[in-house]
Every structure is written in C-alpha cells, then in structure tokens.
C-alpha cells in the first residue's frame, strides 16, 4: 500500500510540534477573519505572507492553507447571527440560517454548519488524497464550451427555484449580469459601462455588492423594525443540533460534500457556486420545500458543507497541474514559489513530505476547527442579546472597514452604500438579492467562455451540442426553463417556490 505509506509520511510531517503550532495559528486566524465580514482570507493571507518567508516551506503552507479553510468555517457565523455573509461563499447561508436565528435556533444552525464544514472538509481531503491525479486529467477536458453550458445550467437551476415570481428572478439575474459587464471586456480589452472612470475599469467588486445588499440593507430594514421591539425576543432554544436536525441534515451533508468537492476543482468561484447549487439542490429534493427560506436546517447544512468541501477540491489543480483555480490558490502558489517549490505534476515526486504533509495538516486543522468552534457557539449566540443601538453601528463599522481593506479604495465604500439602498428597495418590493449575486459571479464567466468557445469553433454554435458534457448541461437547463409553461410541471414548481412572506 503505497498510498498508506505516503499518508503516513504526511502525518509525520504534520504532527511535528512546529507544524502543529502553525496549523493552529492558521485556523485560528482563519476563524477570526471568517467571522469579521469583508476581511476575507485573501487580505489576511497577503498580510501574513511575508511573515512566512522565514519559516520552513511546510510550516508556511500549512499556516496559509489553515487561514483559507478556517475562514470558510467562520464565514457562516455572521450570516446566521446578523444576516451578513462573512464570505461570498456564505451568502446562501443567510437565507435559512438567519431565519433559524430569528426563531431562537441560532445554536443548532451554528452547530450544524460547524459539523457540516468538518464533514465536508474532511471528505474533500480524502477525495484529494485518493483522486487528485485522475481528477486533474478530467479537469483539463473542460474547455470553454463545457464551462459555458455548466454556467447556463447553474443559472437556470437558480432561477427555477427562486422564491415567488420567475419574472422577478429573471429581472434580478439580468441586473446582476449587466453589473458583471462593467469594466474592460475580457476578450478584447475594450472598456464597457466604465463612463471613463478609472475606478470602473476593473469592474465593480463582489465584496462591496454583497456587503451592501445583505449587510447594509439588513441594518436599514431592522432600523424600521427595531421600533417595534419584537425581534429576537424568542427564547434561545438549545445550543447543539437535535437528533431531528441530524436526520434532516444527513443527506444534504453527503450531497454537499460531493458537489462542493467536484465544483471546487473547476476554476472560478468554486466555493460560491457550489454553495448556491447545494441550496438549490436541497430545495428541489426536499419533501417540504416550503420550509426553505423560513429556517430549514437543510438550507444551512448543505451549502456550508459544500463550500468547505470546495476548499479541498481547489487544491487539486494547484498541486497537480501547478494551476491556481482562484485568487487564494494563486496566493498559495506565490508562497510555494518563494520557498523554492514548484507546484505541479512533479511536486508529489519531488517534495512528497510537503505534498502529503500539507494534506495531512488539513485533516488535523479541520479537527482543530471543530474543537475551536463548538464551544464558541454559546458565546456567539450571546451576540444576539446585544441591544440594537450598539449592534447596528458595529455592524456598519465592520462592513465599512471590511470593504475598505479588500481593495484599499474609498470607491468600494460608496459602492457598498449604494447597494445597501438597492438591497433595501429590493426587499421592500420583494425581489430576492441572491440571483443577483450569482448572476454577477457567473455572468462574466458565462460571457467569457461563450466568446472563447466561439473563437475556438470559428463561429460555429455546433460546438455546444457536439461535445457531450456541454450538450447534457444545456438540455437539462432547457427542460427547467420550459417546464413552467407546461401546466402540470408548473404546479410542481409553485410548490417548490412558495411566495416568501416577509
């Protein structure tokens, strides 16, 4: 058993006291920045990056990786407690997590997201150990045509399952796509919708939009309601998930692990997309879809598992192809290079200690995170008792600081405030913000891959149908979009997407 021997080597590296220490520091910092909205893993990792110059390569990578998956753990906390996603990947957790908190079930929501994160994270590490080489070969088969069709399918699923009116969901998604167009066109570098403003040349950031739509808008909405003094008066019931919660979350966790792991391998927003799709999938499969949006624990367990599972998947292209699938992995690539290690097909042979050591440390790190996070739940729940006149200014402050630290520009703060107002109006007029965010993330990828595919095929649309993976995705998407027109199927969708009562 060569694999067992390699895993053994890995644990021997990861269990060295120095490496254990760095692992703990990493996951601890990760949890903290995950909890603070806006200050994402990218910011923290780049700040701590120079500190690792002097450490051994193993210690440096173990710590930086710990920050990454630690942030995914912490990201759900503010989503659940105050409806502000700590990370873009925790946006969907707001939908049901926050509703659970309002019903006094913040504890089980936090607990289930910690367990889900642990299980998803662990499953994806096992996947990483067993499947890394074959999967990297599969990933390079995904060309522009396949990506395009996958994105179309993702958007279709989301719109199909949006609350209430499909027309409203389509409008919001279209708005998100237009927002995504701002900036230099990714194919021939021509500025679009930039109005000759330098700040817009690179497009609008995801973080200011998400913080505005969710964070600032939530504060504005609650300022209205706080006068009535009725929110969160409910008793906090239980700190840990009950047996029933476990039964309900069991399959969402399994499906979230698989979904997150595979989507994490693909470039782009693996963690973000997988959390959205997991939510949509759970709602589609649930016997009681009407509970979604009103505090269904499956809506927390699935996406939180998926976004953590995606972290393991994201390591595959980096460690086996030398290709970073997202910004965070690009940062890690930089860290490897500074320490004189080239991630890529030869890494497993040339630096087995580092390769397996990092993987083993992720397993240990996940355990540490579970131990670290469970006792904290009791403390987090107390946050809900903080009076609004103190909590709201604090939330706004965190949003402001968080948004500023991402890009170091004041412009992002204006964007966030603007989207706070937009989000407020959308809530009032009963438009869902989630399709906007996903369309904003997927739109540019969709366009970019469509145009690349057209360049590759010399202008022939047949490329989308002659490639099997692409054709299947498109057919499923077509079915979902047409189904509301067929009366019997249309009724089924209405059962799934019951009008949101606010």
């Amino acid at each position: 058993m060569e694999l067992l021997q390699q895993i053994g080597t890995g644990f021997a590296v990861a269990l060295q006291p120095t490496n254990l220490f760095y692992c703990f520091v990493g996951v601890f910092i990760g949890t903290l920045i995950g909890v603070l909205p806006g200050i994402g893993p990218v910011g923290a990792m780049s700040l701590l990056f120079p500190v690792t110059f002097k450490a051994t390569p193993e210690a440096a990578i173990i710590m930086l990786a710990g920050i990454y998956y630690g942030a995914m753990y912490g990201g759900s906390t503010t989503s659940i407690l105050v409806n502000i996603p700590g990370e873009a990947a925790s946006v969907v957790t707001c939908l049901d997590g926050y509703q659970m908190a309002r019903k006094g079930r913040a504890g089980p929501a936090l607990g289930m997201s910690a367990f889900g994160s642990f299980l998803g994270g662990t499953a994806s590490i096992v996947g990483l150990m067993l499947l890394a080489p074959p999967l990297s070969q599969f990933a390079i088969k995904f060309g522009p045509a396949e990506y395009f069709s996958l994105m179309v399918l993702g958007l279709s699923i989301l719109i199909y399952l949006a609350h209430g009116s499909m027309a409203k969901a389509l409008i919001t998604a279209a708005f998100g796509i237009v927002l995504g167009l701002i900036g230099l066109d990714s194919i021939n570098a021509r500025p679009r919708l930039t109005f000759d403003r330098l700040e817009l040349v690179d497009g609008v950031g995801l973080v200011p939009i998400v913080m505005g739509l969710f964070g600032v808008a939530e504060v504005l909405l609650n300022v209205e309601q706080a006068l009535k003094r009725e929110v969160f008066q409910t008793r906090i019931r239980g700190l840990l998930p009950s047996a029933r919660d476990w039964v309900e979350s069991r399959w969402p966790i399994v499906r979230g692990s698989v979904l997150g792991f595979f989507l994490g391998i693909l470039p782009g927003g693996g963690a973000v997309i997988s959390s959205f799709l997991s939510y949509a999938l759970e709602k589609r499969l649930s016997k009681h879809p009407e509970r979604f949006g009103h505090g269904a624990i499956e809506g927390v367990a699935g996406p939180e598992t998926a976004n953590n599972a995606a972290t393991g998947g994201a390591f595959i292209p980096l460690m086996t192809l030398g290709v970073p699938p997202n910004v965070i992995m690009a940062l890690l690539l930089g860290a490897f290079m500074v320490h004189g290690v080239q991630p890529g097909p030869l890494m497993m042979k040339q630096n087995p200690g580092l390769f397996w050591g990092v993987i083993a440390s992720m397993y240990i790190g996940n355990l540490m995170l579970l131990v670290l996070n469970l006792p904290l739940i009791g403390m987090w729940v107390q946050v809900l008792r903080v009076p609004y006149r103190i909590l709201f200014p604090l939330i706004l402050l965190f949003c402001l600081v968080g948004v500023y630290t991402v890009g170091n520009t004041v412009f992002d703060i204006y964007v966030m405030i603007l989207f706070g107002l937009v989000g407020y109006l959308m809530k009032k007029l009963e438009y869902e913000p989630a399709p906007l965010v996903l369309a904003f993330v997927l739109g540019p990828l969709l366009e970019n891959n469509l145009r690349k595919a057209m360049i590759l095929s010399q202008g022939s649309f047949a490329i989308f149908l002659t490639r099997p993976i692409s054709a299947v995705c498109l057919l499923v998407a077509l079915f979902l979009l047409v189904s509301p027109l067929v009366p019997r199927l249309g009724r089924k969708r209405e059962e799934l997407a019951v009008e949101e009562v606010s």
């Binding site: 780049s46 990056f49 194919i187 570098a189 500025p191 330098l198 192809l321 030398g322 590759l456």
Partner: protein, 326 residues
C-alpha cells in the same frame, strides 16, 4: 540617580514637541525620515508582488527605513500608478511599480494620466520571462516548424494568452505581422487558464510567462521559444526569438516611479538604495525562482526609455487596431 516618572514624561513631551515644531521641507538630507510606501498595482501573491516584496526587504536595509508594499490592483496594473500620480505628494514617500500598461492604456482608453508628464522615473529593475509552449505530442518539434505550419495553414493555429492587449498578445501579433501569418488569439483570464487550455488540447499553443514551467519540466508540454534577450538559465537549450530571426525581445519590463516634481536629491537617495537592493542575493534568488530577470537602468536612462516605451506602445496599439476612437 533615580529618574522620576515626571522626568521621563518631560523628556517624552519635549521630544514630541521638537518633532512637531521642526520645519519639514522635503529636505534631502533628512530623507527618508519615515517608511516609504511602494504601491504594487497587482494582487498579492502574483509573481510581481512576490518579487517586489523581496526587493522591498532587500532595499529597506540600504535605505534605513522600511519599504512597505501596498497592493492596489486594477485596470491592468494602472490604477495604482494613476492614483499615486493624482493624489500622492512628490516627497519620495509614495512610489509605485510602473507596468508596461501605463504606457499602453492611454492610447487605448481615455486615461487620467500622461506617462510622459505625470511621473518621476527613479529606477528600472526587472523583466519577465515569456515563452511559447505546445503539447509534448504536438507535431512541431521546433519554433521554425511551428511558424512554417502556421504560415501554410492560415487561421488554423489558435494560441492562448493571459488576456487581450497584454504584451503576450501584442508580441504574437507582431510576429504574425512580420512573418505573414494569420493565427487566432484566444484570450484567457490570466495564467491560470492558459496552461490547462494547451494541455487539454483546446488550443494549439500558449504564449505566457513561466506558469507552464512545471509542465515543461514534467515533459507534458514542449517549450519552443523564449522571448528574452538571452537564453534562460532554466531551459538553456531553447532558442530565443531574437536568434530565431524575429529580432524581437519582449519581456514586459518594469521599474519604479514617484509622482511628478520630485526633488532630484531624494530621487538619488531612492535610486541608490534600490540599486543596492537589486544586487542582494535574497532578491536575485527570488527572481530566479520566479523566472524573472534583472533589467537595470539608472534614473536618466529610465526616463529616456519611458519615451521609447510610449512610442512603441502607440505603434503596437495602432497596428492591432486597439487604439481609442477620439
């Protein structure tokens, strides 16, 4: 003798007051009196960022003050320098990396800066290593064979670049123009997509900086040509564009500048410190790991070179039909 708490306080207050009263013209004799901020207009962790962090550390020693990297990515690396040109004082405490796009973008869009007027050029430091790779089982063993195939089959060859308007794109089109080739650029989103594109057979070739390195070493990709002035240390058997008859050296070189109107004495202090910094082994090792090469020019040469770069950028942009409509 006991020093009372009061004495210490007095000392402290006195010191503070002296600091506050002292007039602070940008006197070169005192420069630098506080940390120098060096703007990196690229995201943290990329090769430019990593090399700049190594240089900052190496230079701090000679400057006597820390050099602090601030990431201000955006606008293909122009937001950082443009913000500096518009907002920073020319006191030598705010500098920026000047990527080649600073010279190119003003010809493509309405820009807020003029590369000839808005900067004080200090020192030119570095260039990248670029090259063209194909799959290891591709029929072309050499760059010459590849060019011959592309010429004989117009429109058949598709090559990936990390983006339209990048130096990679522009140089490939320059080559096509010279050799009478018609090939198709497929602009990818940065280096992360270009290597899988050629590995997965989605394009025939990839032109990019050395992100393909590990795959070349593993024997999955074949490196046909590099674009530097001389052959690389890492792949000494691979010819350069220059020796293959194209006569092009393309390495997207960069240096550092401050806002316009800096005191020449301050410029000299900075130049001398960076000059020593780029000779530090720590920095040279980092460059080598990142496949970047030292490319030093002093203040006067860099200022003259900036003019050349701008003229070159204008010609390239016009050649490719990317020029802004005015």
């Amino acid at each position: 003798m006991d020093i009372s708490r009061r004495d210490v306080l007095k000392l402290g207050v006195g010191g503070l007051a002296a600091g506050a009263i002292r007039p602070r013209p940008a006197a070169a004799a005192e420069f630098p009196a506080k940390p120098v901020t060096l703007i990196c207009p690229w995201p943290p962790g990329g090769s430019t960022d990593v090399s700049m962090r190594a240089l900052a550390e190496a230079t701090s020693k000679h400057l006597g003050q820390p050099v602090v990297i601030e990431n201000k990515p955006g606008g293909s690396g122009t937001v950082g320098p443009a913000t500096m040109a518009a907002a920073a004082k020319p006191d030598g405490y705010t500098l920026s990396q000047i990527p080649i796009t600073v010279f190119r973008l003003p010809f493509m869009i309405k820009a807020t800066w003029d590369p000839m007027k808005d900067f004080t050029y200090i020192i030119h430091t570095t260039g990248y290593t670029f090259g063209v790779v194909v799959k290891a089982d591709a029929p072309w063993k050499t760059w010459k064979e590849f060019l011959a195939y592309a010429k004989a089959n117009p429109g058949k060859v598709r090559y990936a670049t990390p983006g339209a308007g990048t130096t990679l794109h522009i140089t490939m089109e320059q080559i096509a123009h010279q050799e009478g080739i018609k090939w198709t650029q497929v602009p990818m989103k940065g280096g992360a997509e270009t290597t899988p594109a050629v590995l997965g057979g989605h394009v025939e070739a990839t032109a990019d900086s050395t992100g393909w390195g590990p795959q070349v070493d593993a024997g999955n990709l074949r490196l046909l040509v590099t674009w530097g002035a001389a052959r690389t240390k890492r792949w000494p058997n691979v010819p350069t564009l220059k020796e293959s008859g194209q006569g092009i050296v393309s390495n997207s070189p960069f240096g550092f500048a401050g806002p316009k109107g800096m005191d020449p004495k301050v410029v000299k202090v900075l130049h001398d410190a960076f000059r020593k910094g780029i000779e530090e082994p720590v920095y040279l090792q980092t460059l080598q790991r990142l496949d970047m090469e030292p490319f030093y020019k002093n203040t006067a040469d860099y200022t003259a070179y900036a003019k050349e770069l701008a003229a070159e950028a204008k010609a390239q942009v016009e050649l490719l039909g990317l020029a802004k409509k005015s």
